[in-house]
């Protein structure tokens, strides 16, 4: 059974459509990246998953159950929110009581996020990064099978971000399912098995990072360059060939690599390098989302 399933999920606020007919499924044991520009509907979707916001239409299932039963689910949504007059430890004690979790688990999660030394201090005195780590600690209290993290590295310094990525990868390797929303492409690229890209409230792509990046074409180093350009334009059409930094970027299926190599060689052109050209994830992201950030 898939831990997260959304079917035709829609949320409207009056005339504003925050999420539109969103289909999403997260497989057991994977780290799934939910990518999108600011205002694309990521947080609204996560809130619907957790029962904080009611969908206008569509269906959500967590472990096959409708929202409401969050046993085995941990979450950090849109930044950490705690009681400023309580210490980090007391905040977790409060949440452990809501969750029905033994207090001994608090020491475990504080250690996981490296906050044990500051646990006695009031939340109000924490830095943004420490608050974020406490938020992740709270999400881990139930030792969840499904962890939903909304922009978990917000406010963290580079070392903190690296630690967070390590923690998420470790959780994934241990069998937990992690759904992580982010607008940081590098972060998602490093830790996610699959990625869903959302734009204007709709899912516009869903695949592995490798598959999203692949299939753009071929990069060829050939001499003489002018002859190679002329020959390939004759073969594939003028729009398919571009010269970039002394090499040829050719928009063609990578499966035709051998055929093109043979054609160039037969035309008397020396090919010194021919490889599949991968797009970077940022390029894919901008193409799919239209480079928009609508601030919704």
């Amino acid at each position: 059974m898939e831990p997260v399933v959304c079917e035709k999920l829609t949320k409207r606020y009056g005339e504003v459509v925050a999420v539109q007919d969103l289909d999403l499924s997260v497989r057991a044991g994977e780290v799934y990246g939910f990518l999108g520009p600011n205002g694309a509907g990521k947080t609204t979707t996560l809130r619907m998953l957790l029962g904080l916001v009611r969908p206008t239409s569509g269906r959500v299932l967590l472990h096959g159950r409708p929202p409401g039963d969050l046993s085995g689910v941990g979450a950090l949504i849109e930044g950490p929110a705690f009681y400023p007059y309580l210490s980090g430890r007391d905040n977790l004690r409060v949440l452990a009581r809501y969750a029905g979790v033994d207090d001994r688990r608090i020491d475990v999660v504080l250690d996981l996020v490296d906050l044990t030394d500051r646990a006695r201090h009031k939340f109000a005195t924490y830095s943004l990064g420490m608050k974020q780590r406490l938020g992740v600690a709270a999400a881990l209290l139930k030792d969840p099978q499904l962890l939903i993290l909304d922009e978990p590295t917000n406010g963290l310094d580079p070392a903190g971000m690296a630690d967070m990525r390590t923690l998420i990868r470790r959780l994934g390797a241990a069998g937990s399912t992690v759904l992580i929303s982010s607008h940081l492409l590098g972060e998602v690229e490093q830790i996610c098995d699959r990625v869903g890209i959302v734009a204007r409230g709709a899912l516009v792509a869903e695949n592995t990072v490798a598959e999203l990046r692949s299939g753009a074409g071929l990069r060829i180093l050939a001499a003489p360059l002018d002859n190679a350009v002329a020959w390939l334009r004759l073969l594939l059409g003028p729009a398919a060939v571009a010269v970039v930094d002394g090499a040829l970027d050719v928009t063609v299926s990578p499966s035709r690599a051998a055929e093109i190599n043979e054609s160039l060689v037969k035309a008397g052109i020396a090919v010194s390098e021919l490889r599949t050209r991968e797009r970077d994830l940022e390029q894919v992201f901008l193409e799919l989302t239209g480079g928009e950030s609508n601030g919704r």
């Binding site: 809130r47 957790l50 029962g51 904080l52 916001v53 009611r54 409401g68 039963d69 969050l70 046993s71 689910v73 941990g74 979450a75 950090l76 949504i77 849109e78 930044g79 950490p80 929110a81 705690f82 009681y83 400023p84 007059y85 309580l86 007391d90 004690r93 409060v94 949440l95 009581r97 809501y98 969750a99 029905g100 938020g135 709270a138 999400a139 209290l141 139930k142």
Partner: protein, 273 residues
Amino acid sequence: MVGSFRAELLKLGKRPATWLLLGIALTLGALFAYVIPYLGATSGTTGATADRGLAATLPANIVGNTLGGYPVFLGALLVVLGVLFVGGEYGWGSWKTVLTQGPSRTTVLFGKFGVLAVAALGFVLAIFLMGTVASVLIALAEDASLTFPSAFDIVRGIGAGWLIATMWTMFGAVLGILLRGVALAVGLGLVWMLAVQNLISQLAAPLLPWVDSAQRGLPGPGAGALVAALGAPTGTPGVSALMGGGPATLVVAAYLVFFLALGAVVLRRRDIL
């Protein structure tokens, strides 16, 4: 439900504002129910409230004298407590943190209501204890009788105080939910407690017979009539024998149930943003 109650108890107990409000309630209660009446009586002044006399501050009148503040000023402090305890979750954005741990909204809310009821009882008992100490000190100073009301009267008085105090905390809690925050809820709650109630009873009711009748169905006059029936001095703001103790109890209890139900329905229906 037990887990939510324990969580809320920890939050309330560790919150400095809870103890600040209790301290203010005890200070104001001691000042206006004992210190000022005692000083007035012993200095022989003849002001408008001088008719209370020394007797009101003695142990025999402890029930009525400690209940007198609940319709207005102690009530206002309890409204603030209710607003802070529930409205604060909106201000800090902590509803999502709590609800993603798994409890239902109803479970969390009734945990809060339960803890507010316990806090209200704590306020009532603390004020009763303060009144006991103050009245005994006055009786010893004046060589007056140390006779206390019957145990039944004391328990009935504490019960009535608890009912009224709980109703006001729930009023504050519902304002916090309806207005999704603290500032406006505290402001409007205090305007109602300190201004609107007085305007209705002092200005509108004497002019318009239908307002005079209608005010008997409001929570403040209900609380005022209930404490008046149990011996609270009628010169105290908000204390007025508009109806008997039985109907007044029903009015206060009805508002308590109404606030509980309204808070639960609104919190369940709204999105947590």
